[in-house]
Symmetry: C2
Subunit: 419 residues, 2 copies
């Protein structure tokens, strides 16, 4: 494969994807599942060459002084390869979203109407360091009948090239066209720009990664975008909270996996329970090495640093937490309205009326009652596979599984019907 | 109300819409239906002032030498006002999409998961001459819990101002905030530009009108757009067609209402039936004053003008039709793939395999078998109300009723659940 860097070259990849998508859209579930299982086997069979390619990427990253946390995300191991293969097998086991009848009826004039799920056609994925996303995204796109253009990070270029070569070979062996999966070169930002301009050639772009990447794609793309994953998530501890539950939820939401989008970034505590709750929560969080950026009520405790206005809007993605005391549920709602990224917003309360109010008034992909924000996740929701978590309101909101990777069409069947 | 023309002024309208949307999102169906019925009554009660305002617009249009067809679309009559009022009553009678549980389950850990329909928040409508759209769009947005910013045509400015004043008053009398319906001044294109740049303040833009308007909004807007209504629709008469049905469908699809997006613009005829069908269809279409732009097979008939390459891509919206003979179903599919705007594509055939192939292979909002393309319509589909026909693949595709005017949120209820 040559290395296309210009707009025309990326468009040529998109046209090959379009051509391949026509056959893929008509493939049966059996054909798609066979390809997915073949991909899983092929990945394991090619373990040596994939790990060798990955070692190149890792060596390059280490030579460039990349922080170990990022190098670790880049690194593949036999266990991680097995995880990628298992992910492909899991997707094979899921129901086929294509062909699902969403609704249907027979109209008064006898016309039969059905709304049926169909693939988008060509999906562009733009993502960062982790090479496992390459296999995950290819699997989800294939199962949902979409040809995919994968634009990964340049830091994972060798790994991604090796993985895609294996996946394409397996797809072809299983009777699909190899071009259902294609890698877009990562040697220049121009290829991202070309994808963003490929309206008509690419049906939807899904950026996965940091806030900067996502914002850039959302703002610059003329191709429709599904925005994913920025989470400034709040936990609000209500006046009627069970404080044991509240403590467990706050600690879990902040510390269980601080680097992900459904981790909590802000804590709001109702004034009525501040005296009882603050000493407990400050102690518990500090025991887990959390730095609290607090208002005056919180800074009364040792080790709490004063919050700035900026803290309320910050997605830390690490062991930092903004915290304030609010005089009322209304003020908690107002705070969330001002600062939320509309990802996941949790209330802890035993008061049914407060829970109902929170659920109705908070505008977010997920609103949670007496549960950690960490539950907003395709795996936790039982979707079996997740391509990302949408934080936009159009098309899909929240964790996106296979059905969210489809469009629909109306099928209207008559017997010579005219108006 | 002052006349805002700058970006800031339109943003201020959007902020008022946002503030009003918070209450509207929580309004019960009873409150919304009461407001809709009050709006219908108020429109009829204000008939005199609305018709007087409309007379100003009509006089201005006539003085400017506007073609009578367009003046007619602008003109309101007591009957048309009654139609607008009835439209509002019809929307009141429809089920409330807000709060509908789309799916739900109890997870293995006991968490209760529900996906619930919620309003978008603030909707921007950008539309052309017909003042009835003002009431229709306001009604659909209100019922779906969305505050609406209406940016109509400057030619209908007086009519729209009068209608919006009446609707706002009625909404307020019924206990909603007047700002759930607001008119964006039409005195300058800058207000359209400001709406397109109001990302975050406006949740979705819906352009309704000519292809040029829609293309401009789709390409320039940073606010998510639902693309509507460009239809280069085909009727394909298969080798196995019942030619009587085919004749009725072609004539209906082309001539029933040529100015709308679901009218047919191209006819494809399988070579095997050309000799039998062409004389009949040419005669029948010409009797209805249709100008046929045909290939060599068609131009053998008197009055048929030769088609140019451009004709295959033209949405005439009048009594013109492009027509060609194709050697096979495959070539018909290839032609549609090249030229379709993915709105509505009909096959006429008695052959089950051909029908199945068409339905599976044609990528469009609606695929029709033995039925006129004119059936792609919210009213015909039984939706009760329609804000437009989406020709995009994300969010909504085909006629958009009330459910398509909503987003969803996940409600997760636990009992102190942590991961």
């Amino acid at each position: 494969m040559t290395t296309p860097t210009t707009e025309q070259d990326v468009l040529a990849l998109a046209q090959r994807a379009r051509a391949a998508s026509l056959g893929l859209a008509l493939a049966t579930r059996a054909q798609k599942d066979a390809a997915l299982l073949a991909m899983a086997e092929a990945l394991l069979a090619a373990q040596e060459q994939v790990l060798a390619a990955n070692a190149e990427d890792v060596a390059r990253a280490e030579a460039a002084g990349t922080p170990e946390g990022i190098v670790d995300r880049l690194r593949l191991t036999p266990a991680r390869l097995e995880g990628m293969a298992q992910g492909l097998r899991d997707v094979a086991a899921l129901p086929d979203p294509v062909g699902e009848v969403v609704r249907g009826s027979t109209l008064a004039n006898g016309l039969e109407l059905r709304q049926v799920r169909v693939p988008f056609g060509v999906v562009g994925m733009i993502y960062e360091a982790r090479p496992n996303v390459t296999a995950d995204a290819a699997g989800i796109c294939l199962k949902s009948g979409n040809a995919v253009l994968l634009r990964g990070s340049s830091s994972a270029a060798a790994s991604n090239a090796a993985i895609v070569e294996v996946l394409r070979g397996a797809a072809e062996d299983a009777g699909l066209e190899a071009d259902v999966v294609q890698l877009v070169p990562a040697d220049s930002h121009d290829t991202v720009k070309a994808l963003m301009r490929a309206r008509g050639a690419v049906d939807v772009l899904i950026p996965r990664g940091g806030a900067g990447l996502i914002r850039a794609v959302v703002e610059e793309s003329t191709v429709p975008v599904i925005e994913t994953g920025v989470g400034n998530c709040h936990v609000y501890v209500d006046a009627a909270a069970d404080l044991d539950k509240a403590l467990a939820i706050v600690v879990n939401a902040k510390t269980h996996r601080p680097s992900v989008c459904n981790a909590a970034e802000s804590l709001l505590v109702h004034a009525d329970v501040a005296e009882a709750f603050l000493p407990r929560v400050v102690e518990a969080l500090q025991r887990e090495s959390v730095t609290i950026h607090g208002d005056a009520a919180f800074t009364a405790y040792g080790g709490v640093v004063p919050a700035t206005e900026e803290d309320w809007d910050t997605e830390y993605l690490c062991l930092d937490l903004a915290a304030r005391v609010v005089p009322s549920l209304d003020e908690a709602l107002a705070h969330v309205r001002r600062h939320s990224s509309q990802h996941s917003e949790a209330i802890v309360t035993e008061d049914q009326a407060a829970a109902r109010r929170w659920v109705a008034a908070v505008d977010a992909a997920a609103v949670l009652v007496n549960a950690s924000t960490r539950f907003t996740d395709g795996g936790e929701f039982g979707f079996g596979a997740e391509i990302g978590i949408s934080t936009q309101k159009l098309h899909a909101r929240g964790p996106m599984g296979l059905p969210e990777m489809t469009s629909t069409k109306y099928v209207v069947t008559g017997d010579g019907h005219v108006r």
